[in-house]
């Protein structure tokens, strides 16, 4: 029986060679087949895990932070380590990794879209790009079990999904591998990576000259925060405070149409939640007002375009002169 079993095992391994080839290809050449979304994740992951000359100001948040703050206008010691599609969950782990390789920053500016305290809408991308380590993912899953209604992480088939991503199985990666052009995406992705690095983490999303369509908050009747996200946001704040970092919670702008259509219940709920957070963390500076920018500042319905980012960054510079060493030579764009 043992001999037969070994024979079966040998044949099974031989038969698995194409599968192993696909898995290794997916693991070794991510820049070759992934879309240009990947370099943003890869750049940030590499930034937080390497000694990066110890920046004194970090921008932490989601895509609105990523596309709103131009660190190069704020000074040499500012880095935008936000990632599009993430929540406080990913940013908590990002900051832990940053601390392992770097001294804590003096200041951290946290910018998250309000709806990102309610929804985890992009977790599969976190798994897809292998952003979290095995143990980070295990810890998060455990916390999701403890939190009520976190089906964004513990959805039906979460385990096999997670395993498929972790092992880079073809059911998750083959589509993008086959869709990539024959020469691969390496050049394009490397260029995106380098541009993000050059601009100290900034990346714009929308390409419109103007946009006044409804953003994600418009789809929420009320501000119904996610227990798990809030738990991780608290952890992030605690962690920053313990590291001696001064925390500023800022708000990214919304376009006029969204501002008109976001319900008062949502705004009130968000406002109340911010006040509670402020009470729990009195050392944090919490900005409550969500600014409204004209439509020509928006590259899509959620994100500022470069003109909008310059204006927002300029306002931050004016607002916090004691933090930023940069200067605006041409004044704020309108």
């Amino acid at each position: 029986m043992k001999k037969d079993f070994l024979k079966l095992l040998r044949n099974f391994i031989l038969l698995s060679i194409p599968l192993l080839g696909a898995v290794f290809y997916a693991a070794i050449f991510p820049m070759r087949y992934h879309s240009p979304e990947y370099p943003m994740w890869a750049e940030e992951k590499s930034f937080v895990r390497t000694d990066s000359n110890d920046y004194s100001v970090l921008i932490i948040g989601d895509s609105r932070a990523k596309s709103s703050v131009l660190p190069e206008l704020l000074g040499n010691d500012v880095y935008n380590m936000a990632i599009g599609g993430t929540t406080a969950i990913e940013m908590y782990y990002a900051f832990q990794n940053y601390l392992k390789a770097n001294d804590p920053p003096s200041y951290a500016i946290l910018i998250f879209a309000p709806y990102h305290f309610c929804d985890i809408d992009n977790y599969s991308q976190t798994l897809y790009y292998h952003y979290l380590s095995f143990w980070e993912e295990a810890g998060l899953t455990l916390n999701a079990f403890k939190s009520a209604k976190e089906d964004a992480i513990l959805h039906k088939g979460w385990f096999t999904d997670s395993l498929s991503f972790r092992l880079r199985l073809p059911n998750k990666y083959m589509a993008e591998i086959l869709d990539a052009p024959s020469g691969g995406n390496t050049d394009e992705n490397t260029a995106v990576f380098q541009k993000i690095r050059q601009e100290k983490g900034f990346r714009s999303f929308g390409t419109d000259e103007e946009n006044n369509l409804e953003n994600y908050e418009v789809h929420h009747e009320t501000f119904d925060s996610s227990e798990l996200v809030v738990k991780y946001f608290e952890r992030l704040l605690n962690s920053l405070e313990e590291a001696g970092t001064e925390v500023i919670i800022e708000q990214a702008p919304v376009n006029p149409f969204s501002h008109e259509h976001i319900t008062s219940d949502f705004y009130e709920g968000f406002e109340a939640w911010l006040s509670e957070t402020e009470n729990r963390h009195p050392s944090c500076t919490v900005v409550h007002d969500v600014p409204v920018y004209p439509k020509n500042a928006f590259g899509d319905n959620n994100h500022l375009n470069r003109r909008g980012a310059e204006r927002y960054t300029g306002e931050l510079l004016e607002k916090y002169p004691e933090i930023f060493k940069g200067s605006l030579t041409s004044g704020l764009p309108q």
């Binding site: 037969d4 031989l14 038969l15 194409p18 088939g157 385990f159 096999t160 589509a175």
Partner: protein, 477 residues
């Protein structure tokens, strides 16, 4: 749990390893737990239905045993009413309400596999009633018969007489048998992931917008759908038979190259064989079969096929599909003498005309099958009528040349892979037809041929994972 899920890829080796490692007395318990877990993954809320059907069937057979006369028949009726009643309740209640013009007071979800395991349970009840089978006293064995995971969700519909003894047999680790089973599973995955996934893209595109598609496009769509449903269900059966064989169990064959059939009656002896045999044994023969004259025989055929259609789904489209299939079978029998005399009047009879005749008969049989299948695929009778109207009255030869195969939504690579896969399927079916069993045939070949096929199949399956695999069509029945 789907056979084509990562979950099953983890589940199956664990269950098989446990099955071979555990001592004999624990093997059946292990398989029962595996079956229930398998079912819970697919239909978590409805495990009580499966367990309830098991308990009722077991109890009814034990009570029936030893009784005679009307009491015995009454108990049988009670058992059948319980099983078929449950099926009616979950599957046909809303349909029955719509027939009498009442909106159903509640909406029910259909427990996955209910049509399969309740038919197995009902078949067992009738076998015990007829005395062809002793009632199973051990509840565990009966529960295992009804929840044996390879055939729990979509058949084959097994008989207690052929399965219960197998649960007592010694199942040892046998390399050749395991290899055979795994190769059947590989072929099943090939059918499902390589062929069905691609055909599904095309047919969904066609039938989701059938109003915008011309007659030729719809006719092509129906032909492709015939191959899709064949590969979907036969692929599932290959997986079920293969998985069972790995553990040492033999399940009845469910498909035997149906599209090689030369007449409708033959096609239905080759398609979903276990269901057709079930209907033959437990419905057609009790109705009188062919023993009460030709007219009665044809009526019985129509009844069986109408009910078979209803078994597939609670909708008039399925009833019409069943009736049409039965009608083609009856017409085939009625026209047989005329066709024979026409054939004998042809002056030339040689091997070529014989092959041509056979091809022609196969083509007609397949065309009739596809014609009826319109009602199976269409969402409503009105839609079926529109599709058939377009196929028969909106068919223009110019459309044949105007429709590029690349406009079917597959792209060049996938179209090539699909055609190549269909060629392999045809070769496999031909080998089955001529040599009896493609897997045994393959296992006898030299290593380069065998491994050539293995790697071709594995690489094509890998390339197909990009498409993603939907649920099996027969899950909904």
């Amino acid at each position: 749990m789907l056979f084509n899920s990562v979950q099953f890829v983890l589940f199956f080796p664990v269950v098989t390893a446990g099955f071979f490692i555990f001592p004999k007395k624990f093997k059946n318990i292990w398989l029962l737990l595996a079956g229930y877990y398998f079912y819970v993954c697919a239909s978590p809320a409805f495990l009580p239905v499966l367990i309830g059907a098991t308990l009722v069937t077991w109890a009814v057979c034990l009570v029936m045993h030893g009784r005679k006369g009307k009491g015995r028949t009454a108990i049988l009726c009670l058992g059948i009413t319980a099983n078929i009643g449950a099926l009616f309740f979950f599957k046909y209640f809303a349909f029955a309400c719509s027939i009498i013009g009442v909106s159903p007071p509640f909406r029910l979800l259909l427990p996955v596999g209910i049509s399969f395991y309740l038919f197995q349970a009902t078949g067992y009840l009738i076998d015990v009633y007829r005395g062809s089978l002793a009632p199973e006293k051990r509840l565990l064995r009966l529960a295992l018969f009804l929840s044996f995971f390879p055939c729990l969700l979509s058949g084959p519909i097994t008989r207690a007489g052929e399965m219960l003894p197998q649960f007592e047999e010694e199942h040892r680790f046998d390399y050749e048998r395991i290899r055979y089973g795994l190769l059947r599973m590989l072929f099943g995955y090939f059918m499902k992931l390589v062929i069905v996934a691609r055909l599904d893209l095309v047919t969904t595109r066609i039938f989701d917008h059938y109003g915008d598609v011309n007659g030729y496009g719809l006719a092509l769509g129906m032909v492709l759908y015939a191959f899709q449903i064949y590969c979907d269900f036969a692929g599932y059966s290959e997986l079920a038979l293969g998985a069972a064989k790995v553990m040492g169990f033999s399940l009845p064959e469910n498909f035997r190259q149906p599209f090689f059939a030369e007449k409708s009656s033959e096609l239905w002896r080759r398609w979903h064989m276990t269901l057709m045999k079930w209907f033959t044994d437990y419905l057609y023969i009790p109705l009188g079969g062919s023993r009460k004259g030709r007219a009665r025989k044809y009526i019985n055929i129509l009844i069986v096929f109408a009910i078979s259609g209803l078994w597939h789904g609670a909708s008039w489209t399925f009833v019409i599909w069943g009736l049409l299939s039965g009608l083609f079978m009856v017409l085939g029998e009625l026209s047989a003498p005329l066709r024979s005399s026409l054939l004998s009047s042809i002056p030339v009879h040689n091997r070529f005309t014989g092959v041509l005749h056979r091809f022609f008969r196969t083509l007609i049989t397949f065309s009739l099958f596809v014609f009826a299948l319109v009602f199976f695929r269409a969402p409503s009778l009105k839609a079926a009528g529109e599709i058939l109207g377009k196929i028969f009255f909106g068919f223009r030869l110019s459309d044949v040349f105007a429709l590029s195969p690349f406009s079917l939504g597959l792209g060049k690579v996938n179209l090539f892979l699909l055609l190549f896969a269909l060629l392999i399927l045809f070769a496999a079916d031909l080998i089955n037809e001529l040599r009896g069993d493609k897997i045994s045939w393959l296992m006898e070949k030299k290593a380069p041929i065998r491994w050539g096929f293995y790697y071709t199949a594995v690489v094509m399956i890998l390339f197909s994972t990009q498409i993603g695999a939907a649920s099996f069509i027969y899950f909904r029945f």
